[in-house]
Amino acid sequence: MQEDLTNTFRQARVGEKIEYTGSMLVMRDIAQKRLVEIDKSGMMLPLDLKDQVIFYAGPTFVKGHMVIGPTTSKRMDRFLEFIISKGVIATIGKGKRTQEAELLCAKHKVPYLVTPSGCAAYLASCVTRWEIVAFEELGPEAIYRIEVVNFPLLVAVDAFGRSVF
């Protein structure tokens, strides 16, 4: 099952649209900075990144819905090599990444996908479950695990290094 998912992402071609159903880990700047610091200090990470899909985002909660959307991926490029080394299979966000990040995507066959920004009310309807995994005190910057159904994605940098930008 997990192998199938990894293969689906690896084989996806640039520009291809994917309706993703499954789980993702939501994190952004400060959570990743903390993970790197924890790792450097030799302690165990508070979560396992192996085979995970990472969504760069910071949600809010309205009327029982998790309202969520992508944040600028370029700010996360400094952590990309780290999360890939921990086994991440794809990243999701918005906007163009640095050339270094695109090269990492190709080298490790970890595609980068985009989901529409400024569409949080729509994306809220695709999120069926969520839980806090780490750093609860960070509020919208905490790490969440979410389950999504038919979540709209477009392959922006594929595992072959081709970029839509």
Binding site: K17, I30, A57, G58, P59, T60, F61, V62, K63, H65, V67, I68, G69, T71, T72, K74, R75, K94, G95, K96, V114, P116, S117, G118, C119, A120, A121, Y122, L123, A124, S125, L138, G139, P140, E141, P152, L154, A156, V164, F165
Partner: protein, 279 residues
């Protein structure tokens, strides 16, 4: 002396904040009518869902900035900053909008939990009114703000090039089709302020000349920039299809003989700006 009850300011601003985050500007909705590129369906449905169910258009409901034009003889019953902050606190905690402000920016970055403080600029005018301009400013577009302290002898063509190149290199990360605000002249801080004011809609900007006759508008330059931007193939969501920039405004102000400040601000495609006038 004219007295305006701060409760009225509070109520009007609360309504506007709810509106600006949930009801899309009709001009933006129209812009997408003929768009059928990537994510067209999601973008259009989002506008409908947000409007009908009062959900935020974007999870990033921004840092709220206010630009207030206040009659010199208008008396308010409470300090204005307190009223504006109270409005944001009420709307953002009450409607579940994201609490996205941290205090101690460099070290602790601790969430303030109510989306305050707000950013307030108050200007005195010679009219017995209070006109409150507000923008729910997302972080992605704010990160494109920039200032160039150019030399006074800089050529017009180079100024255009600097602006176009900044947009070309960065627009994909600010949720295009963006709005480009340019401020030229004054001092560094004045130029940035002008570039922010330039993000408001044209009918709001028209009022500026009445409030401060020294603020000018370079309409032809804005048109030329808009033409240059139309050649950029960045497109909706940065995916290459549709417009990159939806509108451009250039505001100017007198400056020092040794300076030519040029500031650029950008707003995302949702264009979450609104103003309320209280008489």
């Amino acid at each position: 002396m004219k007295t305006i009850d701060s409760k009225i300011v509070y109520e009007r601003v609360c309504n506007a904040l709810l509106d600006v985050n949930t009801s899309i500007d009709p001009r933006v909705e129209k812009l997408f009518e003929n768009y059928d590129g990537p994510f067209a369906r999601e973008i259009k449905e989002n506008m409908n869902i947000a409007r009908t169910s009062k959900m935020p258009l974007c999870q990033d409901t921004g840092i709220v900035e206010f630009f207030v034009w206040k009659g010199y003889n208008v008396h308010l019953t409470s300090p204005l900053k307190d009223t504006l902050e109270q409005s944001v606190r009420e709307v953002y905690t009450g409607s579940g909008f994201r609490k996205g402000i941290v205090s101690d920016p460099l070290f602790e970055r601790k969430n303030t939990l109510d989306n305050t403080p707000v950013i307030v600029h108050i200007f005195e005018i010679d009219k017995p009114i209070i006109d409150i301009w507000m923008i729910a400013k997302g972080g992605g577009s704010e990160n494109l703000s920039t200032i160039f302290m150019l030399q006074p002898s800089e050529s017009y063509e180079n100024v255009l090039k600097i602006i176009v190149s900044h947009i070309e290199n960065n627009a994909a990360n600010a949720c295009p089709p963006i709005i480009v605000g340019v401020g030229i002249g004054g001092t560094s801080d004045k130029a940035i302020l002008l570039s922010k004011l330039a993000l408001f809609n044209p009918s709001t900007i028209e009022l500026l000349h009445r409030y401060d006759e020294k603020i000018g508008e370079y309409s032809q330059m804005a048109n030329e920039l808009q033409k240059c931007f139309s050649n950029l193939k960045i497109g909706v969501q940065g995916l290459g299809i549709g417009p990159t920039v939806q509108r451009t405004n250039v505001l100017n102000y007198p400056t020092h003989i040794a300076t030519l400040p040029l500031a650029i601000s950008v707003d995302c495609y949702l264009s979450r700006t609104l103003s309320v006038v209280i008489e």
